[in-house]
């Protein structure tokens, strides 16, 4: 008998009594219906409490803010998606105050060393955010691959204020996650950190040292 059958059979033929299936009431996770402004406030507070940055922008000025952020950090380049509208507008803007734009358009193995050692910052879109915990929802795609939000030391994310949900539960229901998930999905709630050395917080242990969110209001 295979191990699979051995295990399943042992579980199916358990010696105890019939197991009851309890009801699960998720209403304890509900929060009052916050307004968009309240959600943005809460999101900002939560992200800042874990060492992240939130910049409130509009459709017209986010690129200016981005340029400032990158200039302050002396970023030599910015990793962008191949076709996403964020990437398109940056490339079409023809600005000279932005660093070199690197396009993630090749499989990672052909430029792993460059990605790990030479890329200073990246910018990605999000599938919304969660106000209660200060989390970004990312579903990496062919266009915006997984490592964009992980390897560069600075990760900049664009979040539309209108796509900010109150709780994880609400976001998941609204986006119908139970119907099927992509190969990889993420909640990101701050820069990479650790407290493994005597409970002292240190940032940027393996992932980005900085998480900067541009909230488009």
């Amino acid at each position: 008998m295979s191990s699979r059958e051995t295990i399943l059979q042992r579980l199916r033929n358990r010696t105890g009594g019939e197991l009851t299936v309890p009801e699960c009431d998720f209403s304890v996770l509900q929060r009052p219906d916050w307004s968009t402004a309240e959600r943005v406030d809460r999101f900002e507070r939560m992200i800042e409490s874990v060492h992240g940055e939130v910049h409130r922008c509009t459709d017209d000025n986010w690129m200016n803010r981005l340029a400032e952020i990158l200039a302050t950090r002396g970023a030599r380049n910015l990793l962008v998606a191949k076709t996403h509208e964020i990437s398109q507008s940056l490339r079409n803007a023809g600005r000279n105050d932005l660093p070199e734009l690197l396009i993630y358009d090749e499989p990672v193995h052909s430029w792993k060393g460059h990605l790990f050692n030479e890329v200073d910052a990246s910018i990605t879109s999000t599938r919304g955010g969660i106000a209660e915990t200060g989390s970004l929802i990312l579903w990496p795609t062919v266009d915006e691959p997984r490592l964009m939000s992980l390897v560069p030391p600075v990760h900049i994310a664009i979040l539309k204020a209108s796509e900010l949900y109150t709780t994880f539960h609400e976001a998941m229901k609204a986006q119908n996650w139970s119907a099927g998930m992509p190969t990889n999905a993420l909640l990101i709630s701050g820069p990479s950190k650790t407290a493994d050395i005597e409970q002292t917080l240190a940032y940027g242990v393996h992932g980005p040292k900085e998480l900067i969110v541009l909230v488009i209001e």
Partner: protein, 479 residues
């Protein structure tokens, strides 16, 4: 078969709990490191649940886990079906040895020489690192705490914070000795050095091995909870990802994650959420530019299906591995994680490990408790840990005639003398004449009572027998 205990902890005799606990208690550094860490974790947890209806939330957590366990075999099959559809290869292992062999075979098939590891307590249970090393495959831990523990050739002393027994100075010295970094008390510098060392390893590793916090059956999704990003690196950068998990980690729906995640991170470290909640549902698709080409899941039984047989012991399997029970345990806080000599220390270890290693080997574990009840009160899924400790104590002496003992190695602590004393005790209390005679005689002879009663009176005053029995006093009062 899972009934044989091929795996006990590496070089450690679990039965030697008492000498290890004694040594730990007398080590001020260990006392201080654990005390300050546990105090911090307790207050952070408390703050994180402020404003929550915690009892109702814990009920939800318990119900989610109970619902999953009630349908465990069906859910495992559903999980396997979904994952297979998604392109993930699912393997089953009755014990740690078989799980190790599965990991080895996957590595060998890819001609893999280096494995980078994310944090996984199941892989600690399997002793995967030692096994792979013997097979000439380098296995390197990438979680900072696990990395430190591996450099020191130790085992984790806490399931969430593996290196909590070391202070900054000790870690600095260790990193200096093993990796050549400068001696420094600057945690940022030490962390940055480790980042640099491990980045190279992530880039070049052939295989990534991780654990799983929750596996969702309805979508075939493996979830990892972490702060560092090493878990994401491990599961994204190498061309092959192998996830190992206990069979109890499956939940039916994505919705279940919301309740369990809310409880897990707040209970564990007092965080509202961790930096990353990573949900993996399949390998890289043909058109994708990164992610592993191959994803495997190894479902490990290793004693869990035995726990599953019994209605009371079953509650052990609800555990979501937050570590809150150890953070709040007065015994753990004083003796630290290594004293137990087991993969899982503290209260959860005391009720889980006897099933994994046998109650003969783990005979002292259920007694390493004052039964204060703190663990049961903070458990996010309401595991009645104190009740289970009592149950295991009974099983270790075969002490409950109405409920025959079931755990492998039960009765290891049974002593004929003790059993006879209890028999006599029961008989005396069931015979009024002898009871009066016995208690009366004991009162009269109270002067002969020894002043000390072994270890009991080391730190306590010996209770004195009363001059008159309760029966005599009641008689005097005319009642």
């Amino acid at each position: 078969m899972s009934e044989t205990a091929e795996h006990t902890d590496h070089h450690i005799d679990v039965k030697q709990f008492h000498p290890r606990a004694q040594a730990a208690i007398q080590n001020p550094k260990i006392r201080k490191n654990f005390r300050s860490a546990m105090d911090g974790l307790m207050s952070k947890r408390k703050a994180a649940f402020e404003g929550w209806d915690l009892e109702t939330l814990r009920d939800l957590g318990a119900n989610i886990r109970m619902r999953a366990l009630a349908n465990l075999p069906d859910l495992l099959e559903q999980l396997e079906k979904k994952l297979t559809e998604n392109g993930v290869k699912v393997h089953w292992a009755v014990d740690g040895d078989e799980a190790c062999r599965i990991v080895r075979d996957i590595c060998k098939a890819r001609d893999a020489k280096t494995v980078i590891k994310g944090k996984s307590m199941v892989s600690e249970e399997m002793e995967l690192n030692h096994y792979l090393q013997e097979q000439d495959i380098e296995a390197l831990e990438s979680d900072l705490g696990e990395y430190i523990v591996q450099l020191a050739d130790e085992t984790p002393s806490h399931i969430i914070m593996p290196a909590i027994h070391k202070n900054t100075g000790e870690i600095s010295q260790l990193l200096h000795d093993k990796t050549g970094t400068d001696l420094s008390n600057d945690v940022e510098y030490l962390t940055a050095s480790a980042r640099l060392q491990l980045r190279e390893k992530f880039m070049n590793a052939d295989v990534g091995v991780s654990g799983v916090n929750f596996a969702v059956a309805e979508t075939g999704t493996l979830c990892l909870v972490e702060n560092e990003g090493n878990g994401r690196m491990t599961t994204t950068v190498p061309p092959c990802h192998i996830a190992v998990t206990g069979i109890e980690k499956v939940v039916p729906t994505m919705e279940d994650l919301t309740g369990l995640l809310a409880l897990l991170t707040r209970s564990a470290t007092g965080q509202h959420i961790t930096t990353y909640f990573n949900m993996i549902s399949g390998p890289r698709k043909a058109e994708e530019l990164d992610g592993p080409e191959e994803v495997h899941l190894v479902l490990v039984d290793n004693g869990r299906s035995s726990i599953y047989q019994d209605d009371e012991l079953l509650d052990t399997l609800r555990c979501i591995r937050c570590g809150a029970c150890m953070n709040h345990c007065p015994v753990y806080t004083r003796v630290g994680g290594h004293a137990y000599g087991t993969t899982y220390p503290g209260p959860i270890g005391k009720i889980l490990m006897p099933h994994l290693i046998g109650l003969d080997e783990g005979r002292h574990l259920p007694t390493a408790s004052s039964l204060c009840g703190a663990c049961g009160e903070v458990c996010p899924v309401k595991i009645p840990i104190p009740d289970l400790l009592v149950r295991l104590r009974q099983e270790s002496v075969d002490g409950d005639k109405l409920h025959p003992a079931k755990v492998r190695g039960h009765g290891a602590k049974r002593s004929t003398m003790e059993a006879m004393i209890w028999k006599g005790w029961a008989w005396m209390h069931a015979s009024p004449g002898f009871y009066r005679f016995g208690t009366g005689a004991a009162s009269k002879l109270r002067a002969l009572q020894p002043a000390s009663a072994g270890a009991w009176t080391d730190y306590r005053t010996a209770p004195k027998l009363a001059a008159k029995t309760l029966h005599q006093r009641m008689k005097e009062r005319g009642q």
